[in-house]
C-alpha cells in the first residue's frame, strides 16, 4: 500500500508546508492523532474530518498523498494505517536546533528550511531559541555539533 518516502517527497513537502518548527510538528501530530482516534467511530468521514482538523495545504497534501499511496479512504483500517504512517513521518523529521538573535519572521524560517532542503536534501524542522547577545547570524546544533556563526563570535574573534 505505501510507497517509499523519496517518491512522495513532493507531496510530503506540500503537507509539511506550514510545519517549520517542533511546535508546528507537534500541533499537526496532535490533530492527526485526534483524527485517528475517531477513525473507528460510526459517523467518521475522512475528508470531512480532515477539513475540520487541518489547514488547507495540509488537507491537500494528505489527500494527494493518500491518492498517491492508493489509500482506500472508505476503508477505516487503511485510513488508520495511513494516519499512523503520517505520525511516524512527523516523528521521523530531523530536528535542527538553532539560536537566533531576534524572533524570526515566517520568511526567515522558510529560508532556513529551504536552505536545508536545497543544500542538504533534508526536510527538517527547527527548535528555535532566542538569544539577543548573538546580535545577528545563527548558532546551529546539528548531529551533536555546535556551529557558531553569530556576529557575537565574530566580534569576540576580532577582540582577541
Amino acid at each position: 500500500m505505501l510507497d517509499n518516502k523519496q517518491q512522495n517527497s513532493e507531496i510530503i513537502s506540500i503537507l509539511l508546508d506550514r510545519c517549520l518548527t517542533v511546535a508546528d510538528r507537534n500541533d499537526l501530530k496532535k490533530r492527526i492523532l485526534k483524527i485517528k482516534s475517531d477513525v473507528y467511530t460510526v459517523k467518521f468521514k475522512f475528508e470531512e474530518k480532515l477539513k475540520n482538523e487541518v489547514y488547507f495545504n495540509e488537507f491537500s497534501g494528505l489527500i494527494k498523498l493518500a491518492e498517491k499511496m492508493e489509500v482506500n479512504i472508505s476503508n477505516k483500517a487503511e485510513i488508520n494505517d495511513f494516519l499512523i504512517y503520517i505520525v511516524d513521518l512527523l516523528d521521523g523529521l530531523e530536528v535542527v536546533e538553532i539560536e537566533l538573535a531576534v524572533l524570526p519572521q515566517q520568511i526567515i524560517l522558510e529560508s532556513i528550511i529551504d536552505w536545508f532542503e536545497i543544500n542538504l536534501k533534508k526536510r527538517i524542522i527547527l527548535n528555535i531559541n532566542i538569544n539577543p547577545e548573538l546580535i545577528g547570524g545563527v548558532v546551529l546544533k546539528l548531529e551533536g555539533r555546535s556551529l557558531d556563526y553569530s556576529l557575537k563570535r565574530n566580534i569576540e574573534e576580532l577582540m582577541k
Binding site: I108, S111, I135, M159
Partner: protein
C-alpha cells in the same frame, strides 16, 4: 630441644640481670653525683659560716678590747682628775686654814700692839721717859717675841705643810702607783689576751684555710669531672643544635622556595584571571555597545542575509 630452650632462657635471664646491674650502677652513679653536689653545697655553706663566725669573733674581740681601752683611759682620766681635784681642794683647804690661822695670829698681835700702844701712851703721859724706855724695851722684847713667834709659827706651818704634803704625796704616789699597776696589769692582760686571741684566730684561720684547701682540692677534682662532663654534654648539645638549625634552615629554605614558587604561580594565575576579567569586561562593554548600535540598525532583511550567510559558511563544516 629442651637443652637449647634452657640455654636461651639462661641467656635472657643473664641479659636481664646485666641490664638490672647496669641500671643499678647508673642510678648509683647518679645518686653519688647528687651526694657530691649536696656535700659540696654543704661544705660551701659550712665554710661560709666558719668565715662569718671568725669574722664576728674577731670583731667582737676588737670591740671588747677597744671598749676596755676606752674604759681604762676614762678611768685613768677620772683618777687623775680626782687626784688633781683632791690635791687642789685639800692643799688649798689646808693652806687657807693655815692662812686664816696666820691672819688671826697677826690680827691678835696687831690688837695686842694697839692695846699695848694705848697703855704705853697712857703710861707716857704719866711717866713719859721711863715709860718710853720701858716701852721701848717691851716693844723690843715684844718684837723679838713676835718675831720668834712668827718664826716659830712659820716653821710650824712650814713643817706641818711639809708633813702633810709629804704624807699626801706618798698617798698620791701610792695611788698613782696602784693605778699605774692596774694600767700595767690591764695592758699586760690586754696584750696577753690579744696574743691569745690572735693565736686562736690564727689557728681558726689556718684550720679554715686548711679545710678550704681540702674542699677546694676535693671540689676541684669533682669540678673537673663535672666540667668535663658538662663540656662534653654542652658540646654534644651544641652539635645537635647546629645540626637541627642546619636542618631547619634547609627546611625553611625549601619552604621559602616553595612559597615563592607558589606565590609566583598564584600571582600569575591572578594576573591571568584579572586579564580575563578585564577582557570580559571590555568585551561586555563592546558587546553592549555593539548590540545597542547594531541591534537597532539590523533590519529583517539584513538578519535573513546574516543567517543565510552563516548557513553558507556552516555548509562547509556540515559537509565534512
Amino acid at each position: 630441644m629442651e637443652i637449647i630452650d634452657y640455654g636461651y632462657i639462661g641467656i635472657i635471664i643473664l641479659g636481664l640481670l646485666l641490664a638490672s646491674i647496669l641500671i643499678w650502677q647508673i642510678r648509683t652513679i647518679t645518686k653519688e653525683k647528687d651526694e657530691i653536689l649536696r656535700i659540696k653545697r654543704k661544705l660551701s655553706r659550712k665554710s661560709d659560716l666558719l668565715v662569718e663566725k671568725a669574722h664576728k669573733q674577731s670583731v667582737r674581740i676588737l670591740q671588747k678590747a677597744l671598749k676596755k681601752s676606752e674604759e681604762i683611759v676614762e678611768k685613768t682620766n677620772s683618777i687623775a682628775g680626782q687626784v688633781e681635784d683632791w690635791a687642789e681642794t685639800e692643799v688649798g683647804k689646808e693652806m687657807s686654814l693655815y692662812s686664816g690661822y696666820l691672819k688671826n695670829i697677826s690680827e691678835e698681835i696687831l690688837h695686842s700692839y694697839k692695846t699695848l700702844f694705848e697703855e704705853l701712851k697712857l703710861r707716857y703721859d704719866e711717866d713719859e721717859k721711863s715709860f718710853i724706855s720701858e716701852l721701848e724695851e717691851t716693844v723690843k722684847e715684844s718684837k723679838k717675841d713676835l718675831e720668834k713667834s712668827i718664826s716659830k709659827t712659820s716653821d710650824e706651818v712650814s713643817k706641818m705643810t711639809n708633813e702633810f704634803v709629804l704624807a699626801e704625796s706618798e698617798e698620791i704616789s701610792l695611788l698613782t702607783k696602784a693605778i699605774a699597776d692596774q694600767v700595767s696589769n690591764f695592758a699586760k692582760w690586754f696584750k696577753d689576751n690579744t696574743i691569745k686571741y690572735e693565736a686562736e684566730l690564727k689557728v681558726i684561720t689556718e684550720t679554715q684555710q686548711s679545710q678550704l684547701t681540702k674542699i677546694e682540692e676535693k671540689n676541684g677534682k669533682t669540678l673537673e669531672e663535672i666540667n668535663a662532663y658538662m663540656t662534653n654534654g654542652i658540646k654534644a648539645y651544641t652539635n645537635k643544635l647546629i645540626e637541627n638549625a642546619t636542618k631547619q634552615e634547609a627546611e625553611i629554605e625549601k619552604y621559602t622556595q616553595e612559597r615563592i614558587k607558589q606565590i609566583n604561580e598564584d600571582l600569575e594565575a591572578f594576573r591571568f584571571q584579572r586579564e580575563n576579567e578585564i577582557q570580559e569586561q571590555v568585551s561586555s562593554i563592546v558587546k553592549k555597545v555593539t548590540i545597542s548600535v547594531l541591534g537597532k540598525s539590523i533590519n529583517t532583511d539584513e538578519h535573513q542575509k546574516l543567517i543565510l550567510d552563516a548557513l553558507d559558511r556552516a555548509k562547509i563544516e556540515i559537509m565534512k
